[in-house]
């Protein structure tokens, strides 16, 4: 039986607050996984906790198609050699340090994909 939002403890609700609106649509195995994440939450550093909160907010804003795309690409990334994964992470750091104008010009150069949501 999947846990409803009201069945979560106040602490779990606080941690998973960004997912509250989406909770009824989350499949039971994924809910279970999120509850497990709340168990690990106290052991995370403050920085890790803040990052998770930001990521959950981003995640809840994605459409089902976008989530499927993220999962697929994450899987592809995991199948790459470790050095290639590290390289991609390093490239993200470089890309993230660009100005918004520079990022926009790169986005516009993409042949198909529309720009991401702000």
């Amino acid at each position: 039986m999947a846990q409803t939002w009201s069945q979560l403890t106040p602490e779990q609700q606080r941690i998973l607050a960004p997912l509250k609106e989406d909770w009824p649509n989350i499949e039971p195995p994924r809910r279970k996984k999120w509850v497990e994440v709340t168990g690990r939450y106290p052991t995370m550093t403050r920085e890790q906790q803040e990052r998770l909160q930001t990521r959950m907010r981003q995640w809840s804003a994605l459409s089902p198609q976008e989530r499927a795309q993220v999962r697929e690409r994450y899987r592809m990334l995991q199948e790459m050699p470790p050095e290639r994964r590290d390289e991609i992470r390093r490239k993200w750091q470089e890309y993230d340090s660009l100005t918004e104008e520079e990022k926009d010009s790169l986005r516009q150069a993409h042949p198909r994909t529309p720009p991401p949501k702000p």
Binding site: R30, V37, V70, W92, E94, H110
Partner: protein, 134 residues
């Protein structure tokens, strides 16, 4: 009278008597013939005529024509059952796997937006192209 002459004489006598057979004898002969034919057809397992039966085991041809599609259907049915069983067994595992991915993606070093940002895709592409040229 030689033996051959005797046989010819008996045959002539029997043939001459065929037209004079009483109805009861004719009936018994017909019944015996029908029984013999029915027995032959039953033995071959083929409900066709005696001529077809004599043409070279058509029953086995028909059996092959009927049994081959039945065998194919059986194989397909077994295959579908196997596939359904496999799907039932695998689906929950894959589902749990996807659940793992969600939690992993959100706790990974690479943020979610990186997977969807077309600008990063171009950035990566140019970097890979530049590396390949070097």
């Amino acid at each position: 009278m030689s033996e051959q002459d005797f046989v010819r004489s008996v045959t002539r006598h029997l043939d001459a008597g065929l037209d004079d057979l009483p109805p009861s004898v004719l009936y018994r002969l017909r019944a015996a013939r029908d029984t013999a034919l029915a027995h032959t057809q039953e033995h071959q397992g083929f409900p066709g005529s005696a001529d077809e039966g004599a043409a070279g085991r058509p029953g086995s041809v028909v059996r092959r024509r009927v049994l081959a599609p039945v065998a194919v259907l059986l194989l397909v049915a077994i295959g579908m059952l196997f596939w359904q069983q496999q799907t039932r067994q695998v689906a929950p595992t894959q589902y749990a796997d996807f659940a793992d991915v969600d939690a992993e993606v959100l706790t990974d070093d690479l943020p979610v937006v990186a997977y969807l940002d077309p600008g990063f895709e171009i950035w990566l592409y140019h970097h890979s192209a530049a590396t390949a040229e070097d």
